[in-house]
């Protein structure tokens, strides 16, 4: 099991660099400065979408504090709440907000709710093979393709005229059910309808992209950070007949790209207390210019200074910008 996931991570790391787009980090964000007396070990368990990003952050952090040990595990967002509750992890990266039931069980144990930090912006992309003639889709079409709300579809059904494609069924790839991406896509793209049983569940984001790269008639969804040269992210419109938007930073910030979302890191923070220096420094680093440049390096979009301010306040950290 572990070995397999490790290999997924490796594949992901290789592909991530290529997808980086040039997005400017908000200049209001402070530069991170190393402080004294930080040591110990932390563990992060959760999202696979955020796995690379957490790894990069951890590397940066270890450069600043060589005595710190950080372990990162990314099997899916749904693994984060149990790990936070059981105290196995100090950071719970998630690509969807926590469910009510998950917050309930956290609150049952600690008496307060977990704290949600919005650490990056992602545009969830719908991928096709690079040779695929499709360039844009509406969310209504996406819903019919992936959910039980529509029939099994061929490429002809979504408007491809090329006879080599028209009669071929769309081969569907998606994430496993532990994934926050799976949950987010179901809620926002499929209008909460169930996935078709023929959607092939892949254990990682890069596996979905890889499947789209090798299967010519494939369509899959995954975070934009995992895009490679062999796949194409189609433009998405909110409804049939409306303007479609590319998965870009500007469109995500503006909210017009319908599948833009925050990527979260959840922590166990007791309200009204000061956080231990190790976690505090890590959070500060995430919301610093360096931390957000790492976000850009991984292919996601940085959060703005406003959001950084709000979230630092949530955990009682000083905001001096």
């Amino acid at each position: 099991m572990k070995r397999f996931f490790a290999s997924c991570v490796a594949v992901g790391l290789l592909s991530a660099g290529a997808a980086a787009q040039q997005v400017q980090v908000d200049s209001a964000l402070p530069t991170y400065t190393t402080s004294q007396g930080v040591s110990g070990s932390v563990k992060s368990i959760g999202s696979d979408t955020l796995n690379n990003l957490m790894t990069y952050w951890a590397e940066d952090f270890k450069k600043a504090y060589p005595n710190v040990k950080i372990e990162i595990e990314g099997k899916g967002s749904s693994t984060a709440p149990p790990a936070l509750i059981e105290g196995q992890a100090q950071f719970g990266p998630m690509s969807r907000p926590m469910k009510g039931a998950e917050i309930d069980s956290f609150e049952k144990k600690y008496g307060y709710k977990p704290t949600e930090l919005r650490t990056a912006v992602d545009a969830l992309a719908v991928y096709v093979h690079k040779d695929c003639p499709i360039t844009e889709l509406s969310l209504d079409q996406v819903r019919k393709i992936f959910s039980v709300d529509g029939p099994e579809m061929t490429w002809g059904d979504v408007g491809v005229k090329d006879p080599a494609w028209a009669t071929k069924p769309i081969s569907l790839y998606g994430r496993n059910s532990a994934s926050g991406t799976y949950g987010y896509f179901k809620e926002h793209a499929l209008a909460k309808k169930d996935y078709k049983p023929s959607v092939k569940e892949q254990p990682g984001s890069s596996a979905v992209v890889q499947a789209c790269a090798t299967d010519k008639f494939a369509m899959g969804y995954s975070g934009l950070g995992y895009k490679t040269a062999d796949v194409k992210a189609v433009k998405i419109s909110a409804k049939d007949g409306e303007k479609s938007y590319e998965a870009s930073a500007a469109n995500s910030y503006d909210g017009v790209y319908p599948l833009a979302r925050f990527l979260y890191v959840y922590i166990n923070h007791k309200p009204g207390t000061t956080m231990d220096p190790l976690r505090a420094e890590f959070v500060k680093m995430i919301f610093s210019r360096q931390g957000q440049e790492t976000v850009v390096k991984d292919g996601y979009f940085p959060v703005t200074a406003d959001i950084a301010r709000e979230d630092l306040k949530k955990v009682g950290l000083p905001v001096k910008f």
């Binding site: 496993n176 926050g180 949950g183 169930d194 049983p197 959607v199 409804k239």
Partner: protein, 961 residues
């Protein structure tokens, strides 16, 4: 596994040794002691293995059994609220300290549950307005009021929780014990832990009233729903005019406030004949349906449609009626609400039943959106003699709802599974006016007309799980009929978990079947070959090599299957299928050719060289399979002229009278239905039934056909059901049984005839005759297969419904082959051991009597070693059933239920592996995964027990030898 058949008996000691033996008694006792110690150790070891296995079973069962428990409720408190008047709606806070209720005058009163005091009372209805309709959606607290003057007003009800800092706390608050609560301001403070004080206060937001311009008369029914990206409001006026308001919310992730875009679509909803305005109006959660409900049980649905300009309209779709117990008679609806997720409408009837109704997809339905309403669930109040279901409360964590009659009977049930969670009889003198399930699903509150109320702590346990929900077909929201579905989790609370593990059991059986079909013949025949045909020195080298295959970790095999074999299989599928027939036949041809060679040549060959020749024959088989596979594809899977014309776009719509009635209003046909249509020479294109038009000789058509090679035979297109007839599929499937029939008739009928001819009994002529016979029966079995295929196709059966289906790159064939490789070493080794341990005397006797090696192996050695071979197969079966990583990586883990070799599946073991990390300990999902484990355990236990029983019978038969 296999015991020695011959046990050497004790040798009688020569008389002269007797004295010495007597002197050595001491040693013998030591031996006896050691013997006893060993026996004891082995017994203890064996027993502890049994205990460990039983312990595992008990542990699994103890994790699973709570799934079937009912929930329970204990009364926490009861009190008397300082309010009067009827309660319209309301909600408790998530820690069950407050209840905010909206009274029929339009005031919102927040009651402290421990004392019954009203802490806060705010009027929501503006001065002078007369409230004529309201709606409340429990999940998001969204409410809407409609007034007699045609105005509407929306707002939200909720609570805000915050933690108090040291400065904000009064002395009285500081004096609270842990868990203690104290009213403060509009809410209360609770000391959660020693240093934590939580303040909960009501948070009521209400907007300004807005006039509705169209229609006349008061607002009579309305509904208001929220989602993350949209808000919908539908309001019906007395004259039947309904106004549909839509607010689309765009949330910029770059910071800043959400942008709202408001649009209003007035439309008149055609009320059913003779009906006045409805008693209830509901919107489904995605804003795509308006449901109107009348007290006599009639439900009329309007589909909200979006036209090309993006404007919304509503069209009357379908209607249905709730019927009395046993059907036919009149009913009276007394309460109605929407279950969590706003897809299922729950109606409480005056005969003590509740009805669950939702909109389902039905491609054939003559409605504008090809959907129809279905009454999927009907629950009887748990207690006999219950009165009308006057109040309903909706759970916020799952599909549960609470219902109460006027006498104070109340129960909580899960809508989907029908499981009774709580069943209470709170005999009260006044009818229930308000019923609420606490937001965390951990409490229940009922308020009665006299202002008295009771609060229970509730533990719903596992409301989604019941025998029916776990193993049977369940009628899930949005489905046209009950079905087996496994889709365990999702990103939001409103999702309905679907936990039928039948598709997983099916997947496990399918994986095992395909793996065994591939592995058993190969492994057993290889074992026979190495033990019976090869020289012992060669055998001693071959066997470890095959056993080394077992050391390949299955995750590596899975990786190879997913990354290498699957794409190869996609490109070489014709060759792979052809090689299943061609390779064995080539080996047989080679074997017969071998017989025709002069003995002085063949007898000179060493064992290694012999084996190399066999390998060469297999290799040649694969090489031959390439052209044969291609030829078979070109011959069998060719599109008909009609197929080509339609593919090239040369077709015309079919007049309605020729259109089969079953097509009805469908805009899409699945594979099976479109094949059914094609059998009549008709096709389905662009949402209608068409037939080929024009001719292939038309230059324009020819150009398209040429450019895209549309007349090319294509196996994948045939699998997808786009071209061709059922015949070739059956032909392929029938080759193995046809070959069996042909070989049987050869040995039964043809051989005796041939052997009558004296010259054909010995030497080269005999070998040549055998070869001729082989070729004849080879061709013969093709003929028989074609015949059988023709019959089956004529009967209307299509193999594409059964073992073939649309091609998926991650498919069962690939997994079967790779998993076959994983189990071959184990089956091979144990079978080989079994065969080798058969007494050489039997073999010598058989060979000496003139039997060939093959005859000896099959008729003498095999029956004796049968029990061992059987064990080998069963152990392989157990391994295949429990195999996880190959399946996890090489299939798409799609929990579908079909036997097609080109589709994926999900097994119990892969399901446990993927989902266990995400399942919270002790939750329903967690226990269902343990149930998967228990079922897998039971499956292997049954197989192994059956295998052991059969093996012992075999052994008894062989014991005499």
């Amino acid at each position: 596994m296999v015991e020695n058949v011959e046990q050497p008996g004790p040798r009688p000691l020569p008389p002269s040794d007797l004295a010495r033996a007597a002197r050595k008694r001491g040693t013998l006792r030591r031996v006896r002691l050691a013997d006893r110690a060993a026996a004891l150790t082995i017994t203890i070891g064996g027993l502890s293995v049994i205990v460990a296995v039983l312990g595992m079973l008990v542990f699994l069962a103890s994790e699973v059994v709570p799934l079937f428990y009912r929930g329970d409720a204990t009364q926490r408190l009861s009190g008397q609220a300082e309010i009067s008047g009827n309660v319209l709606f309301g909600m408790t806070d998530e820690y069950l300290g407050l209840a905010t209720v909206v009274l029929d005058g339009g005031d919102a009163a927040t009651i402290e549950l421990s004392t019954g005091k009203v802490l806060n009372r705010v009027p929501l209805v503006p001065e002078g307005a007369e409230l004529s309709a309201w709606s409340f959606s429990r999940g998001d607290g969204a409410f809407a009021f409609g007034y007699a003057d045609g105005r509407v007003q929306t707002g939200t009800l909720g609570y805000a929780a915050s933690f108090l800092t040291a400065d904000e706390r009064s002395d009285a608050v500081n004096a609270l014990a842990a868990g203690g609560r104290l009213a403060q301001g509009r809410g209360y403070v609770e000391r959660v832990q020693l240093d934590q004080f939580r303040l909960v206060e009501p948070n009521i937001v209400v907007g300004d009233p807005v006039s509705i311009e169209s229609g006349t008369g008061p607002i009579v029914a309305m509904d208001y729903r929220l989602s993350s990206a949209s808000q919908w409001l539908v309001a019906t006026r007395e004259d039947g005019t309904a106004v549909f308001n839509l607010v689309r919310v765009t949330t910029p992730l770059g910071g800043g406030k959400p942008r709202m875009r408001f649009s209003s679509y007035p439309f008149t909803l055609a009320l059913p004949d003779g009906r006045s305005a409805p008693d209830w109006t509901f919107l489904t959660g995605d804003g795509s349906n308006v449901l109107m409900l009348w007290k006599d049980g009639l439900v009329q649905r309007y589909a909200v449609l979006r036209d090309d300009e993006g404007e919304y309209t509503a069209a009357a779709a379908d209607s249905t009626s709730m019927t009395s117990r046993g059907g036919g008679g009149p009913v009276k609806v007394v309460s109605a609400s929407m279950i969590l997720g706003s897809k299922t409408l729950v109606a409480g009837l005056d005969d003590g039943r509740t009805i669950g109704l939702f909109v389902a997809r039905d491609e054939a339905a003559y409605t504008p959106d090809r959907r129809k309403m279905v009454i999927a669930h009907e629950h009887d109040l748990a207690l006999a003699g219950s009165g009308p279901v006057v109040e309903l409360g909706i759970g916020q964590r799952d599909r549960s709802y609470a219902a109460a009659d006027e006498k104070g009977h109340l129960f909580v049930r899960n809508m989907t599974s029908g499981k009774v969670i709580v069943d209470l009889d709170e005999a009260s003198s006044s009818p229930t006016t308000f019923l609420d399930i606490a937001p965390k699903n951990d409490g229940l509150m009922a308020m009665f007309a006299d202002g008295s109320y009771t609060v229970w702590d509730m533990d719903p346990k596992h409301s989604e799980a019941s025998w029916g929900a776990l193993f049977g077909r369940v009628w899930y929201e949005g489905a046209a009929e009950p079905e087996y579905v496994y889709q365990s989790s999702s990103g939001d609370d409103a999702a309905e978990p679907k936990l039928s593990i039948t598709p997983l059991i099916f997947g496990t059986l399918k994986a095992t079947l395909y793996a065994m079909l591939f592995a058993v013949p190969l492994a057993v025949l290889a074992a026979i070959y190495t033990s019976e045909m090869l020289h012992p020195t060669v055998r001693n080298r071959v066997k470890p090599v095959i056993e080394a295959m077992a050391s390949l970790p299955s995750v590596v095999l899975g990786f190879i299957a997913a990354m290498v074999i699957a794409p190869l299989a996609r490109d070489w599928i014709d060759t792979i299928l052809a090689s299943f027939v061609v390779v064995p036949f080539t080996v047989l041809i080679a074997a017969h050719a071998w017989q025709m060679l002069p003995v002085r040549l063949t007898s000179r060959l060493r064992s290694f060289q012999h084996m190399a020749l066999v390998a060469a024959a297999v290799g040649v088989g694969f090489l031959v399979a390439v052209p044969i596979g291609g030829a078979a594809e070109r011959l069998l899977f060719r599109p008909s002229d009609g197929d080509v014309l339609v593919l090239a776009g040369s077709y015309e719509p079919v007049p309605d009278e020729l259109k089969p009635a079953w097509v009805a209003n469908r805009a899409n046909l699945d594979d099976q239905l479109s094949r059914r249509l094609r059998e009549q020479g008709l096709y389905f294109r662009d949402g209608r039934v068409v037939r080929p038009a024009g001719s292939l000789s038309d230059p324009a058509v020819q150009a398209v056909v040429k450019a895209n090679k549309l007349d090319r035979a294509d196996f994948r297109l045939w699998l997808d059901g786009v071209i061709g007839s059922p015949f070739p599929g059956w032909m392929i499937l029938m080759i193995p049984p046809a070959a069996c029939i042909a070989f049987y008739s050869k040995s039964r009928f043809i051989e005796p005839l041939v052997h009558r001819v004296q010259t054909l009994r010995f030497g080269f002529p005999a070998a040549a005759a055998e070869m001729a016979m082989l070729i004849v029966i080879g061709l013969g079995s093709l003929g028989v297969a074609a015949g059988m295929a023709a019959i089956l196709s004529a009967l209307g059966a299509d193999a594409r419904d059964l073992f073939f289906g649309p091609f998926n790159q991650r498919n069962t064939l690939v997994v079967g082959i790779i998993m076959g490789f994983a189990v071959i070493p184990i089956i091979y080794t144990i079978s080989e051991d079994a065969l080798s341990s058969v007494s050489p005397a039997l073999r010598s006797a058989s060979l000496g009597a003139g039997a060939t090696r093959w005859q000896t192996a099959i008729r003498v050695v095999m029956p004796v070693a049968a029990s061992g071979i059987f064990s080998a197969i069963m152990i392989g079966l157990g391994r295949a059933a429990g195999e996880t990583m190959i399946v996890l990586m090489a299939t798409g883990n799609t929990p579908s239920m079909d036997w097609s070799m080109f589709s994926g599946f999900r097994t119990l073991s892969a399901n446990i592996a993927t989902e266990l990390p995400e399942a919270p300990v002790g939750g329903t999902h967690y226990r269902v995964l343990f149930l998967c484990g228990l079922v897998l355990f039971a499956m292997t236990a049954v197989v192994n027990t059956a295998a052991e029983l059969i093996r012992q019978r075999f052994r008894k038969r062989a014991a005499g030898l």
